[in-house]
Symmetry: C2
Subunit: 556 residues, 2 copies
């Protein structure tokens, strides 16, 4: 083993932290991912910065909180001024390459303002969140009466499918994400009922194997050092999977739903909005869970098998020796827990993700196969990668912290006392149906190992969970007088966090310290009455100068 | 009179709010500025966003708080991503031109990252905080053993002086900002004692008349519509002025110092650092005040005379008919009050500035000569100017609010409940001498018409002033138990402010509202069990599709 030269940064989408056997799932066996965990460190408290794809990813890719980068929801462009993982790594001569999904929306207006052409190298990188693109595939080509949410979705993948004979204008939908009935009717995976079907596609042509192959194709031709972001759409919806995975799990493998009647009684008004919306209502139905969860498990099982294929190949080709492998997810999935579907709320189900890091360096031998319960955030990955590339992370820009000390057994905790997660639902149907003004739709979560507080704008009380006595987060203590002190303490932390200098990114801490003594020696002399009080070395330029009398002007 | 076509945005530097006769100074008569006030609205509670040139100005020029733009001190570059007054106005076809000082430091690294060449038009604008430069002059060419703080300072002005026969390598220093003794020795204006001298320059060649002439030269050739930022260095130090202004004021005109012994007894530890530094100690000496203040008053009197020259010319040339005129300052000057010099703290002396706005429009007739005590911030100017240019201000970027409703008599208050001012002293000698870590050097002021709270990082208690019973801010109530409730309330406001979404600048509020109902009609169908639950118009694209059986692959 050698020091990591390259980084393989694997991200799944909407993979719950507890749906892997190494994280304790009793029925879903994921031996390949577990194998990676046995060679690396498995983190049990890794939080993402926003429970929605785009914002979570923009935080991961910039190493900065959502409140700092401003891409607060899917489709909100990441400002051109934001500095990305790719910018940091390329400075060290490390390529930063995308294979798969980012959910990045380019800041077209900002690019125009600065004259950055989208077809220049710089423009292409800025448009792609700092990545050089081997293949971009956000993994979806939805189609509605007003067009597609992402007209470029599944672009190369659809070409691949068509070349393989999947005849359709949108084989991503008609084959990879739909079933088929006996009469040749497409059973769309967008309808949850059809999650019971097998996707009408050969397993090896479905999305996860396809993207694994694309990742291998990149690595095969890459020289490095590189950081390859291999970013899968699955097990994200549409929830449908081909055989043999479609038949692999049944009702007996579905975990009991985590919810209680008390959650429905007098709930926090914002939580109520999320429960009472269409998605929450759907996932509260047994038939929905019974249809979706086996498919979701099948998708994960397929991901694990593809990890087996990938890791075997990395071993065979010697790449395991000098490649750091990181495996994580952008957020979880409620799947009916807490009377909700989707991910856009703050229970661990949505905000905590699996995170496994394998570091080939000998320094990491001491921690192989260990489990770490430090408070970790997704923004820690960028500085970790910068350290692999050989540089000190630029902590005046990057808000996370490198996990190297943990990976190398020098620390068991990060230096933080709390994690932060944010959600802005101002652009969502929930805000529409509940008439929530944009300014009132922001929510902030602050959590330590014991307590989780959620603050809502709009004048609401907070929510509070005791993660120790109530790890399933079934009892909201946000209006408990007995917890006023805890609530105050958590609010103090949130307040301290909101006051951080997140935008002072053009000067490092060292730069600022250096500036302290600089202006005086560049001629700015303040509070000096006369020459006798002035340090000679600072004011030498203002002494012994001679001039003619010009008080009345040159001609006077 | 007509609707304002152009904007003349005049800024003085370090001009105290109370050193004009229209703001009540008993000895300093400023009839020309008073004349502008009699034709416009005079604001009595206009606060700047940071009590230091660069940061205050970056807020004014971007319409955003320091905490939002990140240029937290002089010399901290404004990030390339920040959108400026010039960007907003040029969109409407209004030029935005600089004549004088900005204290802008370009984000050279950001420009390189985005391939923005400094000698392109875009690069030049980005480097100059969004202005097209008619003449940039930050007004100082200091010289120290390590070179100059601003090697480009007074560049054109020094050329002008040399052409007029002021022979020196730095006539800005040797003539405009120094006296001369009988033996031909230059008496540097950097030494406060020399403030008693007359500057060794003909009055008409000194900086304020020079810059007035440059402003007129710009307007003479400009076609418009334009916003001209005529930005003077004076009455900023070096405190020295030519005759006749040098002899105009004596000890009898110096106002009594505003300070009390109690301020020195057990002061707030951060306030103590500011009092106990070299500048504070110097300005606490009577001889320093006696030397500096008459010169400071003379500089202001000269500014006022130049305003007379300028306004007369604007009237004669008809420009007064279609030009909005704004007159303000970037911050004040302690001048020994509260045992301090300079400006870098939070008393009104430093944070409140004069603001007079003359609007030629008939709509403004109702408010001519009125005084407005609304809570105004410097960041309100950018949106006010955008309205003059004919557009709705982009309030997802601009954090101030347009003053048009006040100018047009439609409102007497802004919509805000409090003003914010910030100071980051992490790069200062005070932090050096007191070993203050960078993270602990941030301070935030939140004030309404009654209370002013100052929060300091680093675990200190706040300071609190009752502006009603103690308008001179001599009694710090920050440790008063009787004021715990007020302190809590002011902290609630500060907390609400820190939580604002200041970085979500790529989508407007209207954009976000529009997005609420958009994804569904672009094919993202969530929480729909089967076709019977699905709105036909949203899911029409997923119905009645046909496919071949491909479950076992094309060849299967």
């Amino acid at each position: 083993m050698a020091k990591a030269k390259n980084i393989l940064f694997i991200m799944f989408d909407q993979l719950r932290w507890d749906y892997l056997s190494c994280y304790g799932h009793p029925h879903l066996h994921t031996p390949n991912i577990d194998r990676l965990a046995s060679k690396g460190v498995r983190f049990t408290r890794s939080y993402i910065q926003s429970p929605i794809c785009g914002s979570s990813r923009m935080s991961t890719y910039t190493g900065r909180y959502v409140h700092s980068h401003g891409a607060t929801w899917n489709g909100v462009p990441l400002k051109i001024g934001e500095i990305t993982m790719g910018d940091h790594l390329r400075k060290q001569g490390m390529d930063c390459v995308l294979v798969g999904k980012t959910h990045m929306r380019a800041d077209v207006e900002g690019m125009m303002r600065l004259g950055v052409s989208p077809d220049s190298i710089i423009g292409a990188r800025v448009s792609e969140c700092g990545f050089d693109v081997f293949e971009r595939d956000d993994g979806m080509l939805p189609e509605g009466p007003d067009g597609s949410y992402d007209p470029d979705g599944a672009k190369e993948y659809n070409k691949y499918l068509r070349a393989k004979g999947y005849e359709s204008d949108n084989p991503w939908h008609d084959f990879a994400n739909s079933g088929l009935d006996a009469d040749g009717n497409v059973l769309s995976g967008w309808f949850l009922k059809n999650s019971r079907e097998a996707a009408n596609i050969a397993e090896e042509d479905s999305e996860t194997p396809y993207m694994t192959g694309r990742g291998m194709a990149f690595m095969e031709q890459a020289e490095g050092p590189w950081c390859c972001h291999l970013s899968y759409i699955k097990p994200h919806w549409p929830y449908i999977v081909p055989e043999p995975y479609a038949s692999m799990y049944g009702p007996e493998h579905v975990l009991p739903v985590v919810r209680s009647d008390s959650e429905k009684q007098n709930p926090h008004p914002v939580y109520r909005m999320f429960m009472d919306n269409k998605v929450g209502e759907a996932f509260s139905r047994d038939e929905v869970r019974a249809a979706v969860i086996p498919a979701y498990m099948g998708l994960i099982k397929q991901c694990d098998d593809q990890m087996g294929r990938l890791f075997d190949w990395l071993e065979e080709t010697g790449r395991m020796e000098d490649t750091m492998i990181v495996l994580t997810s952008d957020h979880g999935d409620f799947l009916g827990d807490h009377w909700m579907g989707e991910k856009t709320f703050f229970h661990d189900t949505a905000t905590k993700v699996p995170l496994i890091i394998y570091d080939p360096s000998p320094e990491a031998d001491a921690t192989r196969g260990t489990v770490c319960d430090a408070l970790v955030e997704a923004i820690d990955l960028a500085p970790t990668f910068v350290e692999v590339s050989g540089a000190e992370p630029a902590y005046h820009i990057l808000e996370g912290e490198s996990l190297r000390p943990i990976l190398h057994g020098e620390a068991t905790e990060t230096t933080r006392d709390y994690v932060i997660c944010e959600y802005d639902f101002s652009a969502t149907p929930i805000a529409h149906f509940n008439d929530v003004p944009v300014k009132d739709a922001a929510c902030f979560m602050v959590a330590d190992k014991r307590w989780k507080l959620i603050h809502f704008e709009g004048g609401h009380r907070p929510m509070l969970f005791d993660l120790e006595t109530d790890p399933q987060e079934l009892t909201d203590l946000g209006d408990s007088d007995d917890h006023a002190e805890v609530i105050d303490r958590m609010y103090d932390r949130l307040f301290a966090w909101t006051r951080r200098q997140s935008q002072r990114t053009t000067k490092s801490v060292q730069d600022l310290v250096d500036m302290r003594t600089k202006t005086g020696r560049r001629g700015i002399v303040l509070g000096v009455y006369d020459e006798t009080e002035a340090p000679l070395d600072q004011t030498v330029c203002y002494r012994d100068r001679k001039a003619a009398n010009m008080k009345s002007g040159p001609a006077g």
